[in-house]
């Protein structure tokens, strides 16, 4: 579904990804763990199409198409979702306004009919309920004044509404208390655990993986995947740290 080969990427002339290989097949959940500064968020941004990042080598194909050739909004319409480590606050634009326009813009790009205001609200409310987010927050400006946990829940509500084929979730588990962690974990399983979908979970901790069991765990260090294994690798990493395991 997602195939990355020898990917090199730089920001401000500094190379961060240094020949990264990774393949996620349909129906799989992969976890990426690794020390701070390893390049995990960079990988997410590069796959999401953030313009400041320059791809200096390698390739990434998504469902058979050249991902790196698409603009960010085209990647979204193709079914890619990036859950942000730090969701952005946007004053003056309400969640519903933003998400309805986002969804209808994706649908238009795919040749599907737009959802009416009423249809959209029904969908948005159902997703907010499923993730335990207060419906009032749908009307509030995007992420403005939300706590860290509320922002992450909002990312999952957005994922539920947009119903992507592939999700890259960058530390969606950080800053969550135990109830929120459970809600987010269940959300990921409900929305994304499907035979035709895939997930790349970027995380620091084993704890989210107790809810969303990965098929493959990778260690990313210094811009490369240095080790891959089954779920037991995450347990090993948690116990022994990146230093020993990735060495």
């Amino acid at each position: 579904m997602l195939k990355i080969e020898k990917l090199h990427a730089a920001i401000d002339g500094k190379e961060i990804l240094k020949g990264l290989d990774l393949e996620v097949k349909a129906g799989e959940v992969h976890a990426i763990m690794g020390p701070n500064g390893a390049g995990k968020s960079t990988l997410g941004y590069v796959l999401g199409g953030r313009p400041e990042y320059e791809v200096t080598g390698g390739s990434a194909t998504f469902r058979g198409e050249d991902l790196l050739d698409m603009e960010a909004h085209e990647r979204a319409a193709a079914g890619l979702f990036l859950g942000f480590q730090y969701p952005v606050e946007i004053p003056g634009i309400s969640n519903v306004q933003f998400l309805r326009e986002a969804l209808n813009s994706q649908r238009k790009a795919r040749g599907e009919a737009p959802l009416s205001g009423a249809e959209f609200l029904k969908l948005a409310r159902a997703q907010a309920d499923a993730l335990g987010m207060d419906q009032e927050m749908l009307k509030r400006p995007v992420n403005v004044g939300f706590s860290g946990g509320e922002k992450k829940r909002n990312e999952m509500v957005q994922m539920g509404i947009l119903d992507p084929k592939f999700a890259i979730l960058d530390e969606t588990d950080s800053g969550l208390d135990i109830d929120a962690l459970k809600a987010v974990g269940e959300g990921i399983n409900r929305i994304m655990r499907k035979p035709d979908k895939g997930v790349l979970l970027i995380t620091h901790y084993q704890r989210l993986l107790d809810y969303v069991e990965p098929d493959v765990v990778h260690v990313l260090a210094d811009g490369r995947i240095v080790k891959s294994g089954g779920p037991e690798l995450a347990v090993e990493l948690e116990r022994e740290g990146y230093g020993t395991v990735a060495a």
């Binding site: 909004h73 979204a76 986002a102």
Partner: protein, 359 residues
């Protein structure tokens, strides 16, 4: 005609585009390319149309508004040129007229219309003015609000080209309220110039809006609010959005006289550059002679937040839509001051239309 215009050497006119004003004044009249019916909003109330500054009775139903010679004049260099026939709204104690609409269509050359709005005690009025077409439209509007009177005024500058100069002179009495909101969303140059004096205890005065410029256009607003009596409050919320090589300028001044204790003044001037080649000038000024006052002011110029744009685009919005949404949100603070929903929505739609083209 020969014009005796202010020059850039005068501090209050240093950002003005008098060359564009003169070019507009020297343009030839032609057939109008817009009709009054296209410009009136679908709301109840008196309607007046002026074409090249001349009252057009066939497209008007003035109701309580009088079309008459306006005697008073002004010392203002542009305002004083607006003399002769104009319009007058004079309301008796407690009277109310809502949504008086006035449209001004220019076809070329210059036109000058004076106006007076006099509201007696507790009278209420709302007014929507629209400028369209081309040429130089020059206006002087003198406003006096007696105790407890309320005026809501919304003015949109939608001329395709040419120049619009507006001079407001207002006197706001005890516990009276004046709210004026301007939107510059056409292709013309502009100068919105206002002087508001609070002459009674507890007066409320507000003058603000949004100027949107593109191409090599220049628009500016220059407003002075003078607090002469205690317990008054004022707000000046202005947003400037500039694209291409255009310039938008905002100068806002609050004066608090020695007797005007417990004045509450708010001034928020913000500029957004859509291109690095565009320019926004901001000049916030406070001159306070009373000691017990609360005056908040802020002035910032910036670009659209790249992180926010990527966030919106990563969810599927095209870059143009993401920029449009962010820019619309930026001007919303200023336009949301309009009290009447239909008018507020019309102004928001004008701003959106401008964005569709400019982005």
């Amino acid at each position: 005609m020969t014009l005796d215009l202010p020059t850039k050497r005068q501090e209050a006119w240093k950002w003005s585009d008098m060359a564009a004003l003169e070019a507009a004044a020297q343009s030839e009249r032609a057939a109008p390319d817009v009709a009054p019916a296209d410009l009136f909003l679908d709301i109840d109330g008196p309607r007046l149309a002026f074409v090249d500054g001349v009252f057009d009775p066939t497209h008007s139903r003035p109701g309580p508004v009088n079309v008459t010679a306006i005697g008073e004049s002004s010392g203002h260099p542009l305002g004083k040129l607006a003399a002769g026939e104009g319009w007058l709204v004079r309301l008796e104690k407690g009277a109310a007229v809502t949504s008086i609409q006035i449209v001004h269509i220019g076809t070329g050359a210059d036109n000058h219309v004076p106006a007076r709005i006099e509201l007696a005690e507790d009278a209420t009025a709302s007014l929507v003015e629209t400028y369209a077409g081309t040429g130089w439209a020059n206006r002087l509007t003198q406003i006096s609000l007696a105790r407890g009177a309320r005026l809501m005024r919304s003015v949109r500058l939608l001329q395709k080209s040419g120049f619009v100069s507006i001079r407001d002179e207002a006197d706001v009495g005890e516990a009276a309220s004046l709210v004026s909101v301007f939107l510059g969303a056409g292709g013309m140059g502009s100068r919105i110039d206002g002087e508001i004096r609070t002459s009674g205890i507890g007066a409320y005065a507000e003058m603000g809006g949004a100027l949107l410029t593109e191409g090599d256009q220049r628009q500016e607003a220059a407003v002075v609010v003078d607090h002469a009596m205690p317990e008054g409050s004022s707000r000046q919320i202005w947003r400037a959005v500039a694209a291409d090589t255009s310039t938008a300028s905002l100068a806002a001044r609050v004066e608090v006289k020695r007797h005007a204790q417990q004045t509450d003044g708010e001034q928020s001037l913000r500029g957004l550059l859509l291109d690095r080649t565009a320019q926004v000038n901001l000049k916030p000024e406070l001159e306070i002679f009373a000691d017990d006052v609360k005056c908040a002011h802020g002035a910032t110029v910036g670009e659209l937040d790249q992180r926010a744009l990527f966030y919106l685009e990563s969810r599927g919005l095209t870059p143009a839509r993401a920029r449009a949404l962010m820019t619309r949100a930026f001007v919303a603070d200023a336009l949301d001051r309009i009290g009447e929903e239909a008018v507020r929505e019309a102004f928001a739609a004008d701003a959106s239309r401008w964005l569709e083209v400019a982005l």
